[in-house]
């Protein structure tokens, strides 16, 4: 156990009830003696069972090594494995909305079992089989009627404020999360939200008024909690939760919202035959290498991720456009595809490490290794739009994948010409020969297929190292 204790995760130090430990690549959660009563109630009351059966709380098994004699640890849990850890600043609007609604549902169920969520942290939610799931089993505390919900402000900062900003202002504002680990401060949200949000009764109460209460009492120490207690009835608390639930449910992105990328498959250089040819080539490559996981980078609305989903156990479908990721997520949900996780990622500026020592929330490219990268219709954006040399692109891909399926788009292609339309062509090194020579420093080219009727080539490359 000593070696396990030494591997306490860098993101797990705030909660005295327990911590996350990593041992031989496996995740464990310790339950400290401090949390014994709450944990026992969670299991014995039936709350754990009902949440785990409905996949609202990640199931776990208890392991208790016979040689464990620890003055602090009560139990050790081994939760079910989450295929990929993601963070709220990588989620699309609907993913954050689903996580918010799950948090409220869990809080309501917990109250009926005499418990309450002591924190409403967006980082406590992860996606398992494409559904949001609470992963912090130690997030429950006893509910004392009249005491209100201690995590309400955190809920408003982690969920209500970012959802409102995305809904009323711009989807790209989810990026603010990287700067504010404890959610978007309410006083910032109230300044950014437009006047229209003041007409929404729930937002007026839970963001605008709430922020003023928080700031007014921030430096005042006269408030004595002992004098005001047992004032917020269970009915009022449930009413408040229902109001938040209803407000968030009603936030539906307008179907007419469009971005530069959301209609990509209607406005590109492919004819039907060429497109089918591309699909056929990619399926052949996937059947050849049989990867355990695929990162589809620049996936747009996820067409090719869904194409290969029957053959690959887990697919990370990544795109820099939040609206495209939103569409991808909604299509996967409607088709009940559970092995694809769409996330927002700009490969030219991937999500960094944030928090304490820049390790509390790890950079996305270091979070997990993937077997295979699918980089279709991407290279010209990296090399031309972002001025990234082939060498740097090859180096990056060689660090994160074993196999690479990559599409080369020649300068003569209409989409490449579109990128060069309003800029001087300084990309003298952008050629297929140079592309092959550079990538061959890091990869073997196992297969090379020309797509029918257009001059694009799809390569299957295997990492040399």
């Amino acid at each position: 156990m000593e070696e396990v204790n030494n591997s306490i995760s860098q993101c797990s130090f705030r909660d005295p009830s327990g911590s996350i430990m990593v041992h031989d690549g496996e995740i464990f959660r310790s339950v400290n003696l401090l949390y014994k009563q709450q944990y026992d109630h969670l299991k014995q009351s039936g709350l754990y069972q009902i949440l785990a059966e409905n996949m609202m709380l990640v199931p776990h098994c208890e392991i208790m090594p016979s040689h464990l004699q620890d003055a602090i640890i009560y139990k050790i849990l081994k939760p079910d494995r989450i295929p990929f850890i993601s963070y709220p600043y990588e989620w699309c609007f609907s993913q954050l909305k689903a996580a918010a609604l799950l948090t409220l549902e869990i809080q309501k169920i917990a109250i009926s079992y005499g418990m309450t969520l002591k924190d409403a942290n967006a980082y406590n939610i992860q996606f398992l089989n494409s559904k949001p799931t609470l992963i912090d089993t130690l997030s429950f505390d006893f509910y004392n009627e009249g005491s209100g919900w201690i995590a309400l402000k955190q809920f408003c900062q982690h969920f209500l404020a970012p959802l409102s900003l995305a809904y009323y202002c711009d989807l790209r504002l989810h990026k603010i999360f990287t700067n504010f680990l404890d959610g978007i401060p309410l006083d910032l949200a109230t300044k950014l939200l437009p006047l229209k949000s003041w007409l929404n009764y729930s937002l007026l109460l839970n963001i605008h008024i709430h922020s003023r209460f928080v700031n007014y009492y921030a430096d005042k120490n006269q408030y004595d909690k002992g004098k005001i207690r047992n004032v917020i009835s269970k009915k009022s608390l449930i009413g408040l939760i229902d109001m938040l639930y209803s407000t968030i449910c009603k936030m539906n992105l307008n179907a007419k919202r469009k971005s530069e990328w959301s209609s990509y498959y209607q406005n590109n250089s492919y004819q039907d035959d060429s497109f089918r040819s591309k699909e056929h080539i990619i399926m052949n490559h996937i059947e050849d290498i049989k990867p355990q996981s695929v990162w589809d980078i620049g996936s747009n609305t996820g067409h090719f991720s869904r194409l290969i989903s029957a053959e690959v156990p887990f697919i990370l479908s990544l795109d820099s456009d939040p609206l495209s990721v939103e569409k991808n997520y909604q299509i996967c949900n409607s088709q009940n595809i559970t092995n694809i996780l769409p996330l927002v990622l700009d490969l030219c500026n991937p999500t960094p490490g944030v928090g304490w020592n820049n390790l509390e929330r790890t950079p996305i490219l270091q979070r997990d290794k993937c077997t295979t990268i699918l980089a279709l219709a991407l290279i010209h954006h990296l090399a031309i739009s972002n001025n990234t040399p082939f060498l740097l692109i090859a180096q990056l891909f060689s660090k994160i994948c074993k196999n690479l399926i990559i599409e080369f788009i020649p300068k003569s292609d209409p989409m490449a010409q579109y990128l060069l339309k309003t800029r001087e062509d300084v990309f003298h090194d952008y050629s297929q020969q140079n592309f092959e020579n550079t990538f061959c420093q890091y990869f073997f080219i196992k297969k090379k297929n020309l797509i029918k009727d257009i001059h694009r080539t799809i390569y299957l490359m295997i990492n040399k190292y």
Partner: protein, 69 residues
């Protein structure tokens, strides 16, 4: 009722219009007192809704009695 609630809220906004965030913030105090306000308002709304529902049931019973007669 909604108009009265909005007037009360508008008055509270005016009274608490200081909007500067301090570096060291007590995470619980303001939020807890906010919950008292929100709880009160929701409690009042639930109370009036129960009264309205009560009278709706009475009216329905009177209608049903009238029809059966």
């Amino acid at each position: 009722m909604k108009l009265l609630n909005n007037l009360v809220l508008a008055l509270m906004i005016y009274l608490l219009s200081e909007n500067v965030a301090y570096a060291y913030i007590d995470p619980g105090t303001g939020s807890y007192l906010f919950q008292l306000l929100a709880g009160c308002l929701i409690g009042i709304a639930i109370f009036f809704k129960q009264i309205v529902d009560f009278f709706k049931i009475i009216l329905q019973k009177i209608k049903n009695y009238g029809r059966s007669k």
